[in-house]
Amino acid sequence: MLADSLNRFIAEQYGMATRQAGFSADMWRRFAELGIVGALFDEAVGGFGGDGFDIAVVFESLGRGLVVEPFLGALVVGHALSHAGSEAHKALITSVIEGRAVAALAHDERDSHYELSNVSARAVRSSNGWVLTGTKSVVQQGEHADFFLVSARTNSAHDAEDGISLFIVARDAAGVELRGYPKIDGGRAAELRLNEVCIGDHALVGERDAGFATLERSIGAGVLALCAEALGAMDVAKDHTLEYLRTRKQFGVAIGTFQALQHRMADMLLEIEQARSAVINAAAALGASRIERERALSAAKYTIGRIGARVAEESIQMHGGIGMTWELPLAHYAKRLVMIDHQLGDEDHHLQRYIALNRS
């Protein structure tokens, strides 16, 4: 039901020109009015969904439409607040669900390379709260965010799971410095500098030093979302390529009559079905115990990373020169598919994580 109305809305209202114009607060509000953001959260925090399949369905549609609006930030930050936040924090979720606010996760750092526990930004106690210092990398749609969920070290070594705390930082807080830029796959991101940003005690989300579990859990929801988004984009890339094989003629026949291309297309279909199963496995495991959940998430992200790049490369190759052009939507699906591997852990990262989880 929701997926149908979302698909229809995207088909009618969200063309390539809209996407390329970038984030629009108006569009964000309209998505929210459709209930798309609310579908990502459970009733306890004012949503009407929030389980693995709710998330997967929404993001698969967003992937089909190559939507650049900040759903991922809403999901990850919202789930962190829902999991560990105070009542006041939960009011922030409401503002996101209603499309009045944009939330962004500020976690990656220069040398972390996807490693979740690698946090060097510091939070130091002050007389009436905390002082944050550090730099966060590639914050998705950072310039448009009203507030950030920032991970910072309050104890232990730079790569320890223990000693990480989470904070809500308003975009207009003194000492917050953003440098925004476009991304190669559409949308924008920003480097976030925290120059001795003073925040109150109420900004701490959950227990001091114990932010890792919340981070892992909420980023896990984000991993599932990216996998589902990739699946939607893969289906479109496959459809476009199939249509091209049927209609493009060379040597007097449709190029889809060449067995070499038929087999490659068949391989693509097999791979995408494997990817679909990986997303289903991950969605089903989102509510499971930690090891089971994280194993399925890493398995899915590894699968999506590997298959996404393959679908992108094969789709371009089978299109030939036209597949290289900006004008063709396919090229933008291909770029998004490859770049999803650069968010929340790539293929290699999740394969190694899967091995580690198996041993634990």
């Binding site: 690698n118 060379q250 020169g321 052009t325 004008e327 490859v338």
Partner: protein
Amino acid sequence: MDLKFTPEEEAFRASVVRFLDEKLPARLADKARNGVRLTRDDMIEWHAILNERGWLANHWPKEYGGPGWNTAQKFIFENECALAGAPRILPFGVNMLGPVLIRYGSEAQKRYWLPRILDGSDWWCQGYSEPGSGSDLASVKTTAVRGIDDQGEHYVVNGQKTWTTLGQHANMIFCLVRTATDVRKQEGISFLLVDMHAPGVEVRPIITLDGDHEINEVFFTDVRVPAVNLVGEENNGWTYAKYLLTYERTNIAGVGFSMAALARLKRAVAKVKRNGRPLADDPLFAARLARVEIDLENMKTTNLRVVAAVSGGGVPGAESSMLKVRGTEIRQEISSLMRRAMGPYAQPFIEEAFEEGYEEPRIGPEEAASAAAQYFNNRKLSIFGGSNEIQKNIISKMILGL
């Protein structure tokens, strides 16, 4: 089979290295290193430097201004240039049209056009592909109709060419045009030299997925071309077209480019950290890096074997298709690893950073700015110059006899 270079060839290599040391402007080599886009003037500058030394048209016979090198020398020269980060020699005039004119052109055409290729008077581009004629090149539809009036014999050209690399800088285009329709498609094609500034020629940019403007569409509407610009015989152009496509392919594997890119990748992953340690120490990344390095070492020898087999003077035949397929796959894999190595920093896309004079602080590692764009741009390697699928057809037919 001796795959070692002779002492004479090693001495030649040393002379090439010395030349590059002295003459390759650091500004141009830095651009290659940093993924900064070359301008038209950069490319012209490098051509002029090579031409002054007599090394620009290094595949041409001595009598037309070539250096008289053997196959091994050309191979060494191309590799050393790539390793040093030299701009590539633009192939359109030097490597494509030049050999066709030398083999099939009239004396007047050779005397007029060849010196102009060398001294940079003309910037050529290639008018082969059309929207409906990619892999099936012989199906070209652009027409040239012969006529005569008070200004003499001429052709009137109508049609469209596409994927015209650097056509925006060109003043001349060599075209495959249809001059007969009542024959087998290969038998009705002619090879025509067209002035890009003639009335009726229009160039429109094609922007590629990485935001670059390198290729173009070229439209011809009643373009008048003097009949003396026909190369060889009318309706025999397919022979010349094929000759051009198979002519000089000692460097089609791009081994030098791969070696330079691999060296750059290794420097990058020694610096990039994964959870505090160099990415080069990461077992999965190290395995990817080792695999492509081994593939490249093997390709160097495959390339040398092909070169050695033809150093008697001929040119590689279908074997060059093997070099093209594997060579481009290796180049693509190296750029894929550079993209992976940049982690989240592969995402930022600041186009101004590809241009000369960008002074803002870099976002992430210095290689990050162009890593993803280069990866996407390199998808073209397995598409152009005869797609890798077409190369496999050639291997099946010409080498395997299937």
